[in-house]
């Protein structure tokens, strides 16, 4: 952990340097659409949305030591609710987005209630099984979800139909969500989560309520996954069981790992790497899932600390 700078030189919790670099990154990202084709802007939007999802997984994996394989389902639950509410119930998109995030929060709360008692592999298994249940319901409950065919709806508000305008809104959301998550993991609450990650028994003997902290941490993580899912509904105007499938959770986890566990903002790098890889692979072959599986195996064997961590290690070896 870095030493906190004296409070006087900080603005909104950021040091001057942090503030400047964050502002620079956001500015560059905001200028991107001016130099990209509308297809590439769409890709960039997708990267931002999945970056939020990967970051929400990182809150738990990197800071509470619990890797979730159920976040794709939380994400997708929000997508389903948003599409359903706008397409079937003719609700305004912004209200639907709010309801979607609320639905994701409820799903996350149910998941958390069961999962906080477990750790390690059991946590992984349980979140996986819970996510599968959401997937099963979306697939089978044909009257509401449209079954295998999914649902289509004009979710995106009229003002944001343009690719660039939507990109800027997503960028604003991503920046706000990143800032909120960053503050969250650095708060006393986030520090307690880190304590739990490092030694659960010690935190318990210090008098911390470990399950309660994990419960709240899971819900916060679920809220952000829900925001990402709602934005994805607007991005795609369509939802099908593959949005809540295991592959979605797995892609989220892979992006988070590729970016580096516990780096938070690395998630955007991981999301960019995976989505661009998917895009390149898909233009040559339909075997994206095979490549995804292979990428997973290779990263687990050769670079479990993430692509960024690996590059850093290689560079430091070269420098020596």
């Amino acid at each position: 952990m870095t030493q906190p700078a004296p409070a006087s030189s900080r603005f909104a919790g950021m040091t001057g340097r942090g503030l400047i670099s964050a502002a620079a990154v956001v500015c560059v990202a905001a200028l991107l659409p001016l130099g990209l084709s509308s297809y590439q802007v769409g890709l960039a939007t997708e990267i931002l949305i999945f970056g939020i999802l990967a970051m929400s997984i990182d809150i738990l994996a990197g800071f509470a030591g619990r890797t979730s394989l159920g976040h794709g389902a939380i994400f997708g639950a929000s997508t389903y609710v948003v599409v359903y509410m706008t397409a079937q119930a003719a609700m305004s998109p912004w209200l639907a987005l709010l309801l979607g995030v609320a639905a994701a929060t409820v799903v996350a709360a149910v998941f958390a209630l069961l999962a906080v008692r477990t750790s390690g592999v059991y946590f992984l298994l349980l979140t996986l099984a819970l996510g599968m249940i959401i997937w099963g319901v979306c697939l089978r409950w044909t009257q509401v979800t449209g079954g295998e065919n999914g649902m289509r709806g004009d979710v995106r508000p009229a003002a944001l139909v343009g690719q660039n305008a939507f990109y800027w809104v997503v960028l604003a959301c991503a920046a706000a969500a990143s800032y909120a998550m960053w503050r969250f993991v650095r708060s006393p609450f986030g520090l307690t989560l880190r304590g739990i990650r490092d030694s659960e028994s010690r935190m318990r003997s210090l008098g911390y309520n470990v399950p309660l902290h994990l419960f709240i941490g899971f819900i916060v993580s679920g809220i952000f996954a829900g925001i990402a899912g709602g934005l994805y509904a607007m991005f795609n105007n369509f939802v099908s069981p593959s949005t809540v499938a295991l592959a979605q959770s797995v892609e989220g986890v892979l992006m988070m790992i590729a970016g580096g566990v516990g780096t938070l903002f690395g998630s955007f790098v991981g999301a960019a790497a995976i989505i661009m890889l998917e895009n390149i692979v898909s233009s040559y072959t339909e075997r994206w899932l095979m490549v995804l599986g292979l990428a997973f195996i290779l990263i687990m064997i050769f670079a479990p600390e993430g692509i960024i961590g690996k590059l850093r290690a290689i560079l430091s070896r070269k420098a020596r």
């Binding site: 592999v121 986890v253 997973f296």
Partner: protein
């Protein structure tokens, strides 16, 4: 619930037992959560289907499925998992990658259509059970499930290998220290557990049919069985399979579209009181 539905539940439980016992053997002894187990089931089903159609023999299909899946298990264990030993999380995620790879490979080889493994003439048709007309094949599955349970029980409790496996579940390091090559026991268990998934694939392929997302469904059920029964316990798998099989059938009869919730509810209640499952022990 009528007798017909009860039998449906029992036969499904028997299939689940065959698949999940392989899963829990590997989980219990090697501490590897093999998320490729569902994919192995599906792959076994497809291989068994191809062999059974080519040779016209159901038994040959079973042998082919078990041999092929044991071979894939060998590659998985010796070729990939050996690089990530002693790190549970990396193992799990690696097997997940393998699951995606295998599933997509099956899609390339066999396409997206659904297949049903041909049932031998001997097991076709139905018979009367307590006044209800019931398909013979599903009763055959029930019998195989019971035979596998007896076989596994005898293997674990009455052979030297079984004693080594049980000792390994409790304390693998100690077994190794007493001069046993535990790596070989591990490898055998991994291949055997994988072969059980392959056998399950052939058996299930004949009455549930084989299609690209069948692996995820069977994996979810297997996870539920292991979460309920507890890690590495044979009795736990049997009880878990019965519970999940019967609850699933009950759910399908009463709330066809929400059947998943019916397994989920009891699982939730159980976890609240016994996080390690009914027969699981802390290590």
């Amino acid at each position: 619930m009528s007798l017909f539905q009860l039998l449906n539940g029992l036969t499904f439980a028997a299939l689940l037992f065959v698949v999940a016992s392989g899963f829990t053997l590997i989980f219990g002894l090697l501490r590897i959560v093999n998320l490729a187990h569902g994919a192995l089931y599906l792959f076994g089903g497809y291989v068994g289907y191809s062999v059974a159609v080519k040779t016209g023999s159901f038994v040959a299909g079973g042998i082919g499925a078990m041999a092929a899946i044991a071979a894939i298990g060998f590659v998985l264990d010796q070729g990939l998992l050996r690089f990530v030993r002693n790190n549970e999380l990396r193992q799990v995620l690696l097997t997940l990658g393998a699951a995606f790879f295998l599933n997509d490979l099956a899609l390339v080889i066999w396409g997206g259509d659904s297949f049903t493994v041909p049932i031998p003439d001997m097991l076709r048709g139905g018979m009367r059970v307590f006044g209800t007309f019931y398909p013979i094949y599903r009763l055959f599955v029930l019998v195989v499930g019971i035979l596998v349970f007896i076989g596994l029980w005898a293997l674990l409790n009455h052979t030297r290998l079984g004693a080594l496996i049980r000792a390994g579940v409790d304390d693998a390091e100690m077994v190794e220290a007493s001069g046993v090559n535990i790596r070989r026991v591990f490898l055998f268990t991994f291949l055997f557990g994988s072969a059980l998934a392959g056998l399950g694939g052939l058996m299930g392929g004949a009455f549930l049919s084989l299609y690209p997302s069948a692996d995820a469904e069977i994996l979810t059920f297997s996870l539920a069985v292991v979460v309920i029964g507890g890690r590495g316990s044979l009795v736990g798998v049997a009880v878990g399979s019965l519970l999940v099989g019967l609850l699933n059938t009950l759910g399908q009869v009463m709330f066809p579209e929400l059947a998943y919730f019916v397994i989920f509810g009891p699982m939730a209640v159980l976890l609240a009181f016994r996080p390690l499952g009914l027969f699981g022990r802390a290590t």
